[in-house]
């Protein structure tokens, strides 16, 4: 994709093809000889895991679509039939439903990795933004997918989320009716959501292509955050990272299989085993776990429009992060101060997730009457989510810009190899800089 190619066609057929459609050259340059920093740790294996998960979702999804009926009278039953009667339907449906969770787990690890190692900074801003686009499309896909089984949570989740758009002044209600194709979430809505649920993963696949293209121009970042300065700093992708990624994928699949085979419903909501009933709302509406932090931000604000703005703002913020962070040092290894705020931020996201899962008036510490401040009980989840939502935005909009200007970073190594070679404990006599080049 960039730089010069090291591929040499070996057989006659490869030579013939190379002058017509250089597809083997392309594959070789991308996943075989691609020069990759030699110090990547396991946090770098999640890209490969994500690609695999996208593939699994597409394959299992297309099979589900062969048995699924997108009609309000049949959708619920058809999914139950897939689970009970279709041969191996339980397996494929379980892979798909739990696959969505694993997909999000991987994407969150991947995103926090980028935050920590500053991988969104120049020259990787476009790469980062494409990643944010993929994340948005994933949220859309998962939302549409969750509506399809047409359980109580599917239905009322769809009602609540589509009503968010009604908060837009003037045109909001017209847009909501347009989205519904009626006066409420109903059959037309289910039909179009199925169509979009089928479409979006292929759009994701397209953006993933751009994402990898944008990765291969500057190349990978690495845990030190310093640029690759010589060929000694890199190893070819294959076999070094195909094997490392392969190992990580195997471990990840064990976790995934544990859910599919032993805890197939652990991440789902019991209310979704009840067929959708527009006349009764479940006592407690919650989205899937991976969207809880945003739901908490939405509910933190007493005003409908502001809640919606902040919720979308939380995602929009990610897009501008490359320009909010003023520090030239990429890796937080060398930024001890902001590192603390980063860990606090990670904790903050988990707290927001907890808040999203609880009713606003639930007590955070049960049994304690709580700090009554005027009308507000500070021992309630609304208040915890208010504080946590505030920190979410402060971290990006205040701490990130300020920290780059005020902090004193630790000395950054000269090159990727330097910290390894200069460390007395890790340099046994006779060690060479590039063991892979020997023999």
């Amino acid at each position: 994709m960039s730089g010069h190619s090291t591929y040499e066609p070996k057989t006659g057929f490869e030579r013939w093809l190379d002058t017509r459609l250089p597809i083997i050259r392309f594959a070789s340059d991308t996943i075989v000889s691609f020069p990759t920093p030699k110090n990547l740790n396991y946090w770098w294996t999640f890209g490969g895991i994500l690609a695999l998960m996208l593939g699994i979702q597409i394959v299992s999804g297309i099979i589900l679509a062969m048995h699924y009926v997108p009609h309000v009278d049949h959708a619920f039953d058809s999914v139950q039939r897939i689970k009970r009667d279709v041969n191996f339907g339980w397996l494929i449906q379980g892979m798909h439903a739990n696959g969505a969770s694993m997909f999000f787990l991987a994407v969150y690890v991947h995103m926090f990795r980028n935050l920590y190692y500053g991988s969104y900074k120049a020259p990787r801003e476009v790469l980062w933004i494409l990643g944010c686009v993929i994340y948005l499309l994933m949220i859309g896909t998962a939302f549409f997918g969750y509506v399809l089984p047409w359980g109580q949570m599917s239905f009322h989740g769809a009602v609540v989320i589509t009503n968010l758009i009604g908060a837009i002044p003037l045109v909001g209600p017209a847009i909501t009716t347009w989205l519904w194709g009626g006066f409420a979430v109903d059959n037309p809505t289910l039909n179009r959501f199925f169509s979009l649920h089928y479409l979006l993963p292929f759009m994701i696949a397209g953006v993933v292509g751009l994402h990898i293209w944008a990765l291969h121009v500057p190349g990978n970042n690495n845990p030190t955050g310093v640029n690759v300065s010589s060929p000694d700093d890199t190893v070819p992708f294959h076999p070094y990272y195909t094997v490392k990624d392969g190992f990580a994928i195997s471990v990840f699949l064990i976790l995934y299989a544990t859910f599919v085979f032993y805890l197939p419903d652990a991440l789902g909501d019991a209310a979704n085993y009840i067929q959708a009933n527009p006349l009764v709302t479940p006592a407690h509406i919650v989205p899937e776990w991976y969207l809880l932090p945003f739901y908490a931000i939405l509910r933190a604000v007493p005003n409908k429009l502001m809640g919606v703005i902040l919720m979308f703002g939380a995602i929009a913020t990610l897009f501008v992060l490359p320009w909010l962070d003023t520090s030239k040092v990429r890796s937080m290894r060398y930024r001890p101060t902001i590192r603390l705020y980063f860990f606090l931020f990670a904790l903050d996201c988990i707290i927001l997730g907890f808040c999203g899962a609880h009713a606003p008036d639930d007590m955070v510490i049960p049994g304690v009457a709580g700090l009554q401040l005027g009308d507000a009980n500070l021992n309630s989840f609304v208040w915890l989510s208010r504080i946590a939502a505030l920190y979410y935005f402060v971290y990006f909009w205040v701490i990130n810009p300020l920290m780059g200007l005020t902090e004193t970073p630790l000395p950054v190594p000269q090159s990727i190899s330097a910290p390894v070679l200069s460390h007395p404990a890790t340099t046994p006599t006779g060690a060479v800089a590039s063991p892979e080049k020997r023999g």
């Binding site: 968010l164 009626g182 037309p188 409908k304």
Partner: protein
């Protein structure tokens, strides 16, 4: 087109900065293409709006004799729940008292029922926050309580507490007889 050096361009059509016939054709073709795309965009957008048969199903009739005082019946109308509530004198009294409270979406109780039919309240049963179905009789005003994010409505269906911005909507309806209403 910017090329004005005399003799530099042998093409006799390119004479200078003045728009000529070729520019005209380019612009006309561009406008026509844009018009076509724009004109086709609307059908492709509008197809998602409620279809003719969906609109045709939009009104229903309801027999009020099924609802005892102090009760509510939930009917499905346009895919949404509709509350038909037969209010007790006490509930009506509380609703009228509420007229003088500090209301978020000010409306008198009188404006929310048909003249002379103070006991009958017909409301769209979706919370004006994000569309959940509020539960009958809940909340400190004895009207409805929305379990989703805690909006509280009074016995007139007016928003009194919580995140919802508006009162429960009153649909267009009319009494066909003393015991029959037509909604929509």
């Amino acid at each position: 087109m910017a090329d004005t050096v005399v003799g530099a361009n042998p093409d006799p059509h390119v004479t200078g900065d003045d728009p000529d016939r070729r520019d005209f054709i380019h612009i006309a073709a561009g406008v026509a293409a844009l018009g076509l795309v724009g004109g086709l965009a609307w059908p492709f957008i509008d197809q998602m709006n409620p279809a003719g048969d969906t609109l045709a199903l939009a009104s229903i009739e309801f027999d009020l004799s099924k609802v005892e005082p102090g009760q509510q019946v939930v009917v499905k109308w346009r895919g949404k729940p509709l509350f038909v509530r037969n209010r007790t004198p006490k509930e009506i009294q509380e609703a009228i008292q509420g007229d003088h409270a500090d209301l978020r979406d000010p409306a008198t109780d009188e404006s929310r029922h048909k003249p002379g039919k103070a006991n009958w309240l017909v409301l769209v049963g979706t919370c004006t926050h994000l569309g959940c179905v509020p539960t009958f009789g809940g909340g400190e005003y004895g009207g409805w309580f929305c379990p989703c994010h805690g909006s509280v409505y009074d016995t007139s269906g007016r928003i009194r507490k919580g995140p919802a911005p508006k009162n429960l909507e009153v649909p267009t309806y009319a009494f066909l007889s003393d015991t029959k209403v037509k909604i929509g």
